[in-house]
Symmetry: C2
Subunit: 98 residues, 2 copies
């Protein structure tokens, strides 16, 4: 597998590692999302002022209102973090060459 | 860094590896997108019947109509591939437990 394919597979695996902890292996409950954030995104969680951040993420992304996030609902969260990180790097002149 | 953070960083790095080959290091030209797809997504490219697939991807995702894909425009492409791969695995009963 290429580096990009490996990345994509890892993202799927990480999601299911946390989503599978209950009988519904296809979605993250609030508890599973909190555990994923705490374990996989410690810097992000530490930077949050809102103690209810996980509730907020769930509320914002739970399109089908089942109080869980399936993989497709979860991805915009990860994408927004990547875009923010990329813009941060660009603004500090690390990546982009104007 | 956690596994998820490493994945996210790699995705950003892979994008810039191809986007940086010209003076505009923040976006993929058609040529750069083609090179990324050929090198990083060979299985996807081999499975395509439409020889103009790269034109199609660019046309579909180029929201600001600058004939290039910035990182934010590029991510939906990767997300759609991951969702498709995840659904394929679920349908084959690898991941989800019903």
């Amino acid at each position: 597998m290429t580096e990009l394919e490996t990345c994509m597979k890892s993202l799927i695996d990480i999601f299911h590692r946390y989503a599978d902890s209950d009988s519904d292996g296809t979605s993250l409950t609030k508890k599973e999302l909190k555990k994923l954030c705490d374990k996989e995104l410690p810097s992000f969680m530490k930077a949050q002022k809102n103690p209810e951040i996980v509730d907020r993420i769930l509320k914002d992304l739970d399109n089908n209102k089942d109080e869980k996030l399936n993989f497709e609902e979860f991805l915009p969260f990860i994408c927004s973090l990547m875009v923010a990180a990329d813009e941060f790097c660009l603004s500090r002149g690390k990546k982009g060459k104007k």
